[in-house]
C-alpha cells in the first residue's frame, strides 16, 4: 500500500511537470502575442519589443521555463502579465467560486442522478423508465451553453427572482447550478441504471430475492453496493471536471471561477495564469484519480491496488 502510494505520487508529480512543459511549449508556439494585445490597436513594433523585454519575454524559452520551474519550487507561480497580480492570489480567489458552485451542483446531481437511475432500473421497461431515460438523454444531448442562455432569459428574466449573473447571494446559485447539475445528473442516472441492471441480473441478487429479503434492502444494500464501482468512476471524473471549472457556464453566468479565469487568460495569452491554472487542474485531477482508485479497493476487495 505504502509503496503503491509513493509510486502514484511520484507519477502524479511527473504528470504535472510534463503537463507544464507541454503547455509552456504550446502557449509559446500558438500565434498571438500578449504584448501586442496589451498595447491596444495603436501597437507598434518598437514598443512591443520594449515591453517584451520588460516582461522578460525576450530571453530564450528554455531559460524562461527553467526560471518558472525554479520559482514554482519556492511556491511562486509568477505575476500575471495583464493584471500584475500574483497568480497564486488570482487562483485562490477563483477557486473559491468554482468550489462553491461545483459542490452545490454536484450534490444535486448525485442525489438526483442515483435516485432516478435506481428508480428506472427497478422499473425496467416500464413507461417511467423510458420517460426518465429520455429526459436524461436530452439532458446530456443539449449543449450546456445553450441551456445556460435559455435559463437566463426564460427563467431568470421572466421571474425576476434569480440574478442572471454573478454569485452574490444563495439565490444566485440556482440557475448556474441547474445548468451545470442537470447535465451531470443525467449522466449519473444513465450509468446508475446500466450498472444496476447488470447487478440485478446476477445470481446473488436472485438468491437474495429467493431468500425472501425485502426488495428495498436488496436494491439498496446489495445491488447498489455492487453497482457502485462504475458510478464511482463517473463521479470521480466528473468532480475533477467540475472543480476545474466549467468554462462556458461560468462565462455565460459571469462567475469569476477557474474556468472563466482560464478562458480569459488563454485568449489574452496571459501565460503565467494559464500555466498556474494547468498546474492546479492537474493536481486536482491526479489527486481525484488516486482517491477513486483507493476507494475502488475499499468497496471491492477483489481489486488489489498493485494490479491497478
Amino acid at each position: 500500500m505504502k509503496k503503491y502510494l509513493i509510486k502514484r505520487v511520484l507519477l502524479a508529480i511527473g504528470i504535472i511537470f510534463a503537463l507544464s512543459c507541454v503547455t509552456f511549449v504550446i502557449l509559446n508556439v500558438i500565434p498571438g502575442d500578449p504584448v501586442a494585445l496589451m498595447l491596444g490597436d495603436n501597437a507598434d513594433a518598437a514598443t512591443v519589443k520594449a515591453v517584451r523585454a520588460n516582461l522578460g519575454m525576450d530571453k530564450p524559452l528554455p531559460q524562461q521555463y527553467l526560471s518558472w520551474v525554479l520559482n514554482l519550487l519556492t511556491g511562486d507561480l509568477g505575476i500575471s502579465f495583464f493584471q500584475k497580480k500574483p497568480v497564486l492570489t488570482l487562483l485562490t480567489t477563483a477557486f473559491q467560486y468554482t468550489v462553491r458552485l461545483a459542490t452545490i451542483s454536484y450534490l444535486v446531481a448525485v442525489v438526483l442522478g442515483i435516485g432516478i437511475g435506481i428508480f428506472a432500473a427497478v422499473n425496467r421497461g416500464k413507461i417511467a423508465d423510458h420517460a426518465l431515460m429520455a429526459l436524461a438523454i436530452t439532458g446530456i444531448s443539449a449543449p450546456s451553453f445553450w441551456v445556460a442562455i435559455l435559463l437566463q432569459i426564460y427563467v431568470g428574466l421572466q421571474f425576476k427572482v434569480f440574478p442572471v449573473s454573478g454569485l452574490a447571494g444563495p439565490i444566485s446559485y440556482i440557475l448556474p447550478c441547474i445548468a451545470l447539475g442537470t447535465r451531470y445528473a443525467a449522466g449519473i442516472a444513465r450509468i446508475t441504471r446500466t450498472s444496476m441492471l447488470e447487478i440485478l441480473n446476477q445470481d446473488f441478487i436472485r438468491t437474495a430475492e429467493a431468500k425472501g429479503l425485502s426488495p428495498l434492502r436488496t436494491v439498496f444494500i446489495h445491488a447498489l453496493r455492487n453497482a457502485m464501482l462504475p458510478i464511482l468512476t463517473v463521479i470521480g471524473t466528473n468532480i475533477g471536471e467540475l472543480l476545474t471549472g466549467s468554462m462556458l457556464t461560468e462565462t455565460v453566468f459571469n462567475i469569476p471561477g477557474i474556468g472563466k479565469l482560464l478562458i480569459d487568460s488563454i485568449t489574452k495569452r496571459d501565460l503565467p495564469i494559464v500555466q498556474g491554472c494547468v498546474i492546479y487542474i492537474a493536481v486536482v485531477c491526479v489527486t481525484i484519480y488516486l482517491v477513486v482508485d483507493i476507494l475502488y479497493a475499499v468497496i471491492d476487495p477483489h481489486i488489489r491496488l498493485e494490479g491497478n
Binding site: 500565434p31 491596444g40 490597436d41 495603436n42 520588460n54 480567489t93 432569459i153 425576476k160 442572471v164 453566468f253
Partner: protein, 549 residues
Amino acid sequence: MKKVLHHGLLRVCGFTLAVLTLLSGCSTGHAAVSSKAGSAIASQAASAAPKVLRFGQANSGEPLDMQVSTGSLSASIADEVTESLLRFDDKNKEQPVLLEEFPTVSADGTVYSFTLKKGIHFTDGSELHSSDVKFTFERMFTPATGAKSYAYFNMIVGAKAMLKGTASELSGFQTVDDYHFKITLEYPYAPFVENLGTSYADIFPKNACKTAGSNWGVNVLVGTGPYILKSNDQNTQAVLVKNKNYHGGKVNLDEIDIIFYSDSKTKLLAYENGDIDLCDLPADLLSQYSGSYAKQITTYHPLGTSFLSINLKNEYLKNEKVREAISLAINRADLVKYVLNGAGIPATSYLNNSIPGHDSSLGIYEYNPAKAKTLLSEAGYAGGVTIDGGEVRQSEKALVEAIQSYLAEVGIKLKFKVVDASTWSADRVGGKLPFTAITWNALYPDADFQAYNYFYSTNSVSKSVNYSNSKFDGLLDQARKESVADKRAALYRQADYILSRQDYACIPLYYPQSQFIAKPYVKKMAVGNLIYHFWNVDIDPVDKASEKP
C-alpha cells in the same frame, strides 16, 4: 410533418409572447401605481440613503495605472481617481483641471510654461507640486515601469535618453517653483497640449506612488480626482467612494460600483434584471432594446472611423483600381441600416465627421457594382479575383461577412479567418495582414491621431497597411508644426482627400454611433468619446425610490 411541426412551434412562440406581454404589462402597471402612492414616503427615505451608481462594464483585466494600461475600460475607473493637467469634457472640449489656465507656448513652439492651481491635495493628504508632475513623466520614461503610451510624449527633450536608460532625469522638464514648471520639446508639436489632456498623462503623487511600488494601480491608486478607490478585486468589481475634499467642488455620488461583465449580453440581461443602473449598449444588441427601452437609451458619436484596413503590399490590393472597385461594391447606407441597426453614419472620407479637417462637402461613397466590375476588368481581373488571408476579430465578424457578400457580387472573393484578439494584434503588428476591419478612434478631436498614427509611412507598417505617399506624409509633417487651427484643418482636408478619395489606401465604411442605456433615475450622464466619465452624473433619489415597487 414539417408543416405540423412548424405550426406547433408558432403556437409555442405565440404563447410565450403572450405570456411575455402579459407579464411586462403587469409589472409596469404595478410600478406606475406604487410610484404615485409611494412617492411622498419615498422622497423622505431616499434623501437619507447614500447615492450609489452601479455601472456595468467588461473587466479590463489590467491595472488602473494608465501609464501601464492602455484601454478605455481601465481609464473609465482610473480617470475618476487620478487626473491629468487638463481634460476633455463631455463635449470633447479641453479644459484645464490641475492648471490655472492653458499653458503658454514660446514663439518657436517648443517651450510650454505651466501654472498649477494652488491648494490641490491628493487624497493621501499631500499637496500637488511641480515635483509630482516631474516624477510622473520621469516614471513614464523609466524602462522598468513598462509604460506603454510614452510615444505621445517622447518628443520632450531627454525622453529618448531616459527610455534608452542613458539618463535618469528628464532634461526637458524645468521646475521653476512648486507651482510653475516648463516643458521643452525637441520640435514644435501642435497636439502636445491635447496629449496632456488624455488619461495617459494622469498625475501621480510622488511619495505614495514610490511607496506603493509594484502595487501602484493594482491595489493602490491615489490621485486628486472626485472619487477615491476603495477596492478593486480586478475580478468582480471596483468600488469608488466620494472624495469629500475634491478641489473641483461638491461631488454628486456617494459611491460608484463598477461591476464587471465579460459578456455584453449577460451585462444587458443584468441591466434588465435591475442588477446595474447603467452600461453601454453595443450596436449588435441595439435592435433588442430599441423598442421597449427606447427612453433609456442615449446615443453619442465617438471620434472614430470604421474602415476596411488593407495592405498595399498585397498582390491584388496594391492595384489602385481593385481598391476603388471594392469601395464601389459596398452599399454603405444599407450596411449601416441593416448590419449596424442604424448605429452609424455612412462614411464620406477617412477623417471622422467631428474632427477638424473633415470635408463635409463630400457625399457618401458611390455604390455602383457595375462600375466596380468595369474597374476590375480594367485592372485585368475580369474573371474575378480571390483575396485570401485576411483576419478579423469577433467584434467585426458580422460587418466583414456582409462586405464579403457585397464583394462576391462583383467577382471579388474575400477570404478571411475570425481570430482572437491576441492573434490579430500580433499578426497585424507584424505588417503581414492582407486586410482586416477596424474602428480607429481618436483620443480627442484632432486629425493628427487618426491620420498620423495610422497612415504616416513609418507608422503604417505596424498597422499592416504599408502606405507610403510622400505628399501625404509632407502634409502631415507640416500640420504637426502648424499652430493656427484653420490652417491645420486645411492641411488635413487635403491629406484626407489624397488618402481616402484618391489613393483609396483604406476603404472607410462608417462613423460609428455608440449608445448607453441608463435607468430613468440616472441624471446628467453623458459620454464624449470613448471613456465613461462620472464627473457630472447624479442619481435622483425620488425617482429611484419610486422605481422599486
